[in-house]
Assembly symmetry: C2
Homo-oligomer: 426 residues x 2
């Protein structure tokens, strides 16, 4: 990506160029080690390799072109911010950098050290001027899904234009009413920012576009029940990660093409790993680019990952918005109903997640579950106990992991994961 | 408290008698060291000494008598659960044990190790069968004020009868509507449990009783602006702690008597410490009985504490419910308005707390603020950064402390506090 045009663009975005060059170099090497070392990948992954290699280049150039055309860029960190509405306002919806340690020292001047790596990361990326997505944003939309983010956005708001949506703590009728109010408030904020009135036609189109993206990812997810596994977990995670950055229509086309290739491969009974390879479901906290540590450890310990029960995974793709509504209010209700189905650990109770995780493990013929909680993420750390119990009742072994973005525990994790893989191979 | 009648009562409550005897012995010694060693205490503190010495004895006996008369016992952990409504239903409202390490090993089988000491404590007290309040409860009422409690109540509900109130994340109109729904739902749950319909007369009486208690504590708080300080911070904290356990009317009378004595002492220009003693405001997380570590360290380092900006302190007593309403709905609205004023770190934003803390420091002529966050309490740890900034703008020094219930850091804390006291003494 050492393209002079990109460098000029990054300078215009006020990135710290030497530090950003360093970051891209590390990222490129990391990607090479973890991704390019795989044998027998699907041809369609070339598209993903390209997108990722251009994630701070071509995609940012596209965002700048969109801005020149008067479009607004909306940055988010969470699956509760409805992309359907962003698209209906003619804006671009992107996830922001939050998957690597960056600017940690600076971040710890704004938020406590005992804050999860994802939160410290997005603050650090901003303070160290390393994320061209964040720097391109006209608005960053946060939510109150956990104490850490809820309070960190207060500090973050001093550095970026912020809008925070309240996500309730339960799924009661009153909580749903509150979330609907928040969806309407987000719509208003967007209309004000973009100067565009959201029409029923535009919202219907936004809903169709995002549903199509989710359907492609559902198709991908379902194909992974095949043995041998047609795609690695690393590649599937990358696809889910890229779904937050790429243009949604282009992305959907590419994933459907990839799914066609997966179907061919399945028909030939071929896979990324031999039949009988221990199959694991990864469940828990979101893994933002380039947080590939645990998937890499799992797949280099003799296992293949067959599903990601995570916000960057099925939590974001499981449910669709009803497309049969014709009025704006009907569509918004349909959208609210869809978002209130999300089985995030921020809700109490969140028993549907226990069912979803175990059902997913069974559908994908997983031999075991690795539950992943970011250190200091209280909601998922608490739910790890419940997942273990629910899985035990269905005789599914669980390995519960708590980690962050550092490599310090990599050896220790590998030892634990290898022992777990041996156990499920049993 | 080694009274055979009490032992029989504790056995009936299924306490672990040897472990409970051990706990009371440690608690008694700790209380002796921290409280009885003080010189020149107010005579009215004898009442508090008595209440505390009988907190697992006489008070529990009273609860059993109330139960025999058909009254229900409601246990809580948070100032968001409206005592006014509990009293209106003819029930007894008590705080539950949560201020000491107990049953930690058992608790860590239900909740993550990285959970704050207060939460692990209430779970540990239950699992180790050490809290006669918890064992006396007909209903435990939780709330969604932090991730830790919100998720821990799910596990706790397997061991006690639970009702969880949703406290919203913001103070928007929609959030207030949600909280009103939750207050009404609590009222319904209580009416069902007690078989008592809550009348306007009963609610008006509940509001008057709790307002009178809060007024007595406000009076106590205001008297502490005198120099020399008329009461130690330890004693004032104890009073606030006991306000969660004692009969409210008896408590209010006793505190008003104590305030009369404080006024006499102030008129004589006498105090618990010499005039000119460095005055500190303690701000942050709640300190449940017997969590007296930090106040003791502060007051044995040459300072006197002049206020507790905490849930067990002014956060619970600052605001009163409007008494002018005559209809049930009017009273409930007044009550909701009062509770939505609470400046808990669970809200985003919570800027009023910054004003409240600095104004309190100025009114009480504090020379500095010690901000106290329980380890792993994200909301208060995040706000510590804001308090430091707000206080700096008013030239008030701040020492930010993060600790738990263990004594391991006592020496290190003492060193830091002593240096801070020397600095503010200037």
């Amino acid at each position: 990506m050492s393209n002079p045009a990109y460098t000029a663009m990054w300078e215009k975005l006020n990135l710290d160029i030497p530090a950003h060059d360093g970051l891209l170099e590390v990222l490129g090497k990391f990607y090479g080690d973890i991704y390019m070392s795989q044998q027998g990948r699907l041809q369609g992954m070339e598209y993903l390799d390209f997108v990722l290699s251009e994630v701070h280049g071509l995609r940012i150039q596209e965002l700048q072109q969109a801005k020149e055309q008067g479009k607004k860029i909306i940055g988010t960190f969470c699956v509760f911010v409805p992309e359907e509405i962003t698209l209906a306002a003619g804006a671009v919806h992107v996830g922001l950098c939050s998957g690597a340690d960056a600017g940690t020292e600076e971040a710890e001047k704004l938020v406590p050290r005992n804050t999860c790596a994802l939160i410290k990361s997005f603050i650090g990326f901003k303070l160290a001027r390393l994320c061209p997505f964040t720097e391109s944003c006209d608005l960053v939309v946060g939510e109150t899904t956990c104490d850490g983010k809820k309070k960190a956005y207060e500090a973050f708001a001093e550095h970026v234009p912020m809008h925070v949506m309240e996500v309730p703590n339960t799924k009661s009728d009153a909580a749903r009413d509150l979330f609907k109010t928040e969806v309407l408030r987000y719509m208003q904020a967007l209309q004000q920012l973009t100067g565009t009135a959201i029409t029923p036609q535009a919202l219907a189109s936004g809903i169709r576009t995002v549903n199509a993206k989710r359907r492609a990812l559902q198709r991908l997810s379902a194909l992974r029940s095949a043995d041998p596994a047609p795609i690695s977990g690393r590649d599937a995670l990358l696809i889910n990660q890229v779904s937050f950055y790429d243009d949604p229509e282009r992305f959907t086309r590419s994933i459907n093409t990839l799914c066609d290739q997966m179907e061919d491969r399945i028909a030939r009974k071929e896979g990324i790993a031999p039949a009988g390879t221990p199959r694991l479901l990864l469940s828990g906290c979101p893994m933002a680019v380039p947080n590939w540590k645990l998937p890499y450890i799992m797949e280099s310990s003799g296992a293949v990952i067959v599903g990601e029960e995570s916000c960057i995974g099925t939590r974001n793709t499981r449910d669709l918005v009803d497309e049969s509504q014709e009025t704006l209010d009907g569509m918004i209700d349909a959208l609210v109903d869809r978002y209130m189905k999300i089985d995030c650990a921020c809700f109490t109770p969140n028993t549907e997640r226990l069912h979803n995780v175990t059902a997913m493990a069974q559908e994908l013929k997983a031999d075991g579950i690795v539950h992943y909680a970011l250190k200091f993420c209280q909601p998922y750390a608490h739910e790890a106990f419940k997942i273990e119990k629910a899985a035990r009742e269905k005789d599914i072994p669980v390995l519960s992991v708590e980690t962050d973005y550092s490599m310090e525990d990599a050896e220790q994790l590998k030892t634990r994961v290898e022992a777990f893989v041996e156990m499920v191979r049993g």
